[in-house]
Amino acid sequence: LAKTTQPISMDSYEGQEVNITCSHNNIATNDYITWYQQFPSQGPRFIIQGYKTKVTNEVASLFIPADRKSSTLSLPRVSLSDTAVYYCLVGDWDNQGGKLIFGQGTELSVKP
């Protein structure tokens, strides 16, 4: 399973764009990149998933370069409610099924 590395913490201010980069140097051909968000005392929540290039939904964008060795989660115009831990996961979900491997995550703190 590909190991991921992401910053332990990040600070931002309301209204700014936040980019969280995740490194996954040994990503395999069949691996997808998925991001989850977790608020204190709650279960993680799926944000976005991608395989290559760019994926965008109503919450975030995910940028994946051609070599796929890293990915960047972009949160546009963050608010205080975006303060949470963000996890980058890499895996072959077809073969792993429900087994998600979480790392330490990035604790994002949004200040007024």
Binding site: G97, G98, K99
Partner: protein, 114 residues
């Protein structure tokens, strides 16, 4: 449409006791996974149930066992509790659409072992 529900919300047990945690998956979901999350750490995969059988297992001792019922709900049992078992226990469900990798997590059960 109810999401994933877990019970109880909080639980306090004594070392050596046994505990059972319960999970009802999101409507229409047939696969349930359990995770343990220690304070300040990411969730750790315990095991997954599908069609009432354990399909995958993480690096957890046999003291951790589970069950899935015909209605897809699931239980997590932990025997001979240790202080280190204190954690947030999360249940996640996955739907019938195997092209979707999104999993839905419940709010968790906070277990404290004293």
């Amino acid at each position: 449409d109810a999401g994933v529900t877990q019970s109880p919300t909080h639980l306090i047990k004594t070392r050596g006791q046994q505990v059972t945690l319960r999970c009802s998956p999101k409507s229409g979901h047939d696969t349930v996974s359990w995770y343990q999350q220690a304070l300040g750490q990411g969730p750790q995969f315990i095991f997954q149930y599908y069609e009432e059988e354990e399909r995958q297992r993480g690096n957890f001792p046999d003291r951790f066992s589970g069950h899935q019922f015909p209605n897809y709900s699931s239980e997590l049992n932990v025997n001979a509790l240790l202080l280190g078992d204190s954690a947030l226990y999360l249940c996640a469900s996955r739907g019938l659409d195997r092209n979707s990798y999104e999993q839905y997590f419940g709010p968790g059960t906070r277990l404290t072992v004293t």
